[in-house]
C-alpha cells in the first residue's frame, strides 16, 4: 500500500501555471472523459482502450483499486490536464515491476507537465518498493521518449512493426526501463 498522504499537492509549471496533483476518485469520471475527448485522434490511435466511449472511463472510475492501478490527475481548477498511471501486479513474477503511462492535454505540452508527472511516478515507484518502472511508447512519440530518458529511463528494447494503430498501420514499440534497486554503497556520496 503506497502512502498517499502527500496528496493533494500543488505544483507550479515553468510558465507559472499552478496545478493540483491528486489521485483519481470515482467523481472524476466526467472530468477524465472530457480530458480524453480533447486528446488528438492521432494520439488516441495508440490507446489500449477506446476512451472516446464514456462507459470505458466510467468503468475505470467505478473500479478504482490503487494497489493495481494508481491514477494521478493534474488539475487546473476543475479541469483535468494530465493523467499519469502506475500499474502494478499485486502478486506474481512482475510484482516488482511497475508500468507507467502518462497523457498530457495538448495545451499543456511543452510546459514541463510531462516531466513533473514522470517525477511523481518515480516517487510513487520508490514508495511502492518496486525494482523497475517500465514505460512504452510508439517510436513516433519522440517528445515523450526524450522526457522519459531525461528522467533516467533507458531504452530496453525496440520491437519493430510490433503494434498497430486503430487504422491497422504497424508501428515500432519502444520499451523504456527505470532501474530502482540500489545498494547503500551506490547511494553514499
Amino acid at each position: 500500500m503506497i502512502s498517499l498522504e502527500r496528496y493533494p499537492r500543488e505544483i507550479t509549471l515553468r510558465d507559472g501555471a499552478r496545478l493540483t496533483l491528486r489521485p483519481m476518485v470515482p467523481e472524476d469520471a466526467d472530468r477524465l472523459w472530457d480530458f480524453f475527448r480533447r486528446i488528438p485522434p492521432e494520439d488516441k490511435m495508440f490507446f489500449r482502450e477506446d476512451v472516446s466511449r464514456k462507459e470505458v472511463v466510467e468503468r475505470w472510475a467505478e473500479h478504482l483499486d490503487y494497489d493495481s492501478v494508481l491514477p494521478i490527475l493534474a488539475l487546473e481548477g476543475d479541469r483535468v490536464v494530465g493523467d499519469a498511471t502506475l500499474h502494478r501486479n499485486k502478486t506474481g513474477w512482475k510484482q516488482r515491476v511497475g508500468t507507467v503511462r502518462v497523457q498530457i492535454a495538448p495545451d499543456f505540452r511543452k510546459r514541463g507537465l510531462g516531466m513533473s508527472m514522470i517525477r511523481e511516478m518515480r516517487h510513487l515507484g520508490e514508495k511502492a518498493a518496486l525494482h523497475y518502472l517500465l514505460a512504452e511508447a510508439i517510436e513516433e512519440q519522440q517528445p515523450a521518449i526524450r522526457a522519459f530518458e531525461k528522467m533516467g529511463f533507458v531504452h530496453a528494447v525496440v520491437y519493430r512493426n510490433f503494434v498497430n494503430d486503430q487504422k491497422g498501420a504497424l508501428h515500432n514499440l519502444v520499451v523504456l526501463l527505470y532501474h530502482m534497486t540500489y545498494s547503500e554503497e551506490e547511494m553514499s556520496f
Binding site: 499537492r9 516517487h123 515523450a144
Partner: protein, 178 residues
C-alpha cells in the same frame, strides 16, 4: 567589483562598441556573476540584486549555473578551465548530497548517484572528448537532482537560461518538449 569580460553597448547608445562586464560575488549564495550593469535589477540601496536572492536552493542553483555557463564549454577552453570545472562539479555534487542527506527522496538520490558515476568516469587530465561528455552528463544529472528537490516543494524546475544574462554565457540550447 571588477571588470573583465565584455558586452556590446545597448542600441540606444548608437555606437557599436563593447564595454566591460561588471562582476559580483553574492555574499548569500556565492553566485559569481558577470553582467551588464545597465540591465541588472537594483535593490533599494541602488546596488545590483543577486538574481538568486530569495529563491529556494539558491546556492545549488548558483553553483550549477556557474559551471553550466563556464568557460570549459567554450571552443577555446584550456586544460586548466576543464580541470577547474571538473573540481567545481565535484564540489557541486557534494553540496547536493549534503542537502539530499536530510530528505527522503530516493529518486533524487538516484539521480545524484548517476551524476557521481558520470563524474568519476570523467578525467580532467585526459583531454579526451569523452571526458567532457562525462562532465556534461554529471552536470545534467545534478540539474535533474536539483529539479527533483524543487518538484518536491511544488516549484517549477530550474531554468539556467533565465539567468544567462548574469554570466559571460556560452549559448547552450535547452528545450523541454513534454
Amino acid at each position: 567589483m571588477n571588470h573583465s569580460a565584455w558586452y556590446n553597448v545597448p542600441a540606444w547608445v548608437r555606437y557599436n562598441f563593447t564595454m566591460p562586464l561588471s562582476r559580483m560575488t553574492c555574499p548569500a549564495c556565492g553566485a559569481d556573476l558577470a553582467y551588464d550593469s545597465h540591465q541588472a535589477e537594483k535593490g533599494p540601496d541602488g546596488k545590483e540584486m543577486c538574481p538568486y536572492l530569495g529563491r529556494p536552493y539558491s546556492k545549488l542553483r548558483a553553483a550549477h549555473d556557474l559551471i553550466y555557463f563556464g568557460k570549459w564549454r567554450k571552443m577555446d577552453a584550456t586544460t586548466t578551465d576543464i580541470r577547474r570545472a571538473y573540481h567545481q562539479i565535484g564540489r557541486h555534487l557534494k553540496a547536493i548530497g549534503e542537502v539530499l542527506g536530510t530528505k527522503d527522496l530516493p529518486a533524487a538520490r538516484r539521480d545524484l548517484g548517476k551524476a557521481v558515476e558520470a563524474f568519476q568516469a570523467g578525467d580532467p587530465e585526459g583531454e579526451s572528448p569523452d571526458s567532457l561528455r562525462f562532465m556534461d552528463h554529471a552536470l545534467s544529472y545534478a540539474h535533474t537532482a536539483i529539479d527533483d528537490l524543487l518538484h518536491e516543494e511544488g516549484l517549477p524546475p530550474h531554468d539556467p537560461m533565465e539567468f544567462s544574462k548574469w554570466y559571460d554565457a556560452v549559448e547552450v540550447p535547452f528545450k523541454e518538449e513534454w
